[in-house]
């Protein structure tokens, strides 16, 4: 009589590899996906709000600057310098030594551009 070898022995319940039920894996995946989606969405909202807050601050600052510039330009005597600076701000910056009115109108043109960009986005 041959003794039964380990190969011929039927697998006992204890030695059988225990398989995880598929539903459990799917459940875990669904839960993980939902939590990940919540975190991602929350992060995106926070980032977007941060971006819009920065833009709002920039717009407010630009508005403030433009108001100041307008006041200064109104006070200035030379209207020609103001026109030149609106078309080409770099020219006006180089001419800033000529009069204070020109410099202020240059900053006015810059702020106006910034405002337009912000409202467009």
């Amino acid at each position: 009589m041959d003794e039964p070898t380990a190969d011929r022995m039927p697998p006992t319940r204890r030695h059988r590899p225990r398989r995880k039920p598929r539903a459990a894996r799917a459940r875990r995946a669904a839960a993980a996906l939902s939590v990940a989606a919540t975190l991602t969405l929350g992060g995106v909202f926070a980032w977007r709000d941060g971006q819009s807050a920065t833009t709002t601050t920039a717009t407010a600052a630009a508005k403030r600057t433009s108001t100041t510039a307008t006041t200064t330009t109104t006070g200035a005597t030379g209207a020609t310098g103001a026109t030149t600076s609106t078309t080409t701000p770099s020219t006006s910056t180089s001419d800033s030594s000529a009069s204070s009115g020109t410099t202020s109108s240059a900053s006015s043109s810059t702020s106006a551009t910034a405002h337009t960009t912000t409202s467009g986005s």
Binding site: R22, R27, A30, T38, L41, F45, D49
Partner: protein
Amino acid sequence: MDKLTWYVARASGIVAWALILTTIVWGLLLATKVLGRRPSPAWLLSLHRFLGALTVAFVGVHVGAILLDNYTSFGITDVLVPFTGSWHPVAVAWGIVGMYLLVAIEITSLLRHRMSNRAWHAVHLLSYFLFATTTVHMLTAGTDVKALVASSVSVLLGVAVTFGSVAVYLWRAERRQPRRLSTPVPTPRARAGVG
């Protein structure tokens, strides 16, 4: 970090809406048996139940975060009774109705063995109305779904779910029809007493 609860409320609300949609689709897959034997109906049912429970959990997070938030300053009454809050009262009312529907569907599902199949099914069919109310709530109260693409996608999904449900209902009714007619109809030969 002062806006953390506001971000959690917004994100969990959108995820809860997506979970409602997924649960309904899963239920439709289970009811129609379009996938055949694989995956097994038991697997589909298990996941369908879990998705429903997960939806309840995310709605809980959504409501809890709104209660804790300072931006909208909601109280318990504002969250439980429609039209009591000052922040978009109509839009919030849709969400409150949806929350009650979800709770009713979940409770009847848990107590299914104690109630008749007909009553359970009648309540369970309200899940389509739940999806509709939550979609309206998201589109009207949600501050993030102002974009045209996002609103179009949600409306399209709603239409797809509605039409899909109607199609499934008609298909199942059609399948049931031959069974009713399968009662033995006397043939002319039988009527004549032949055979």
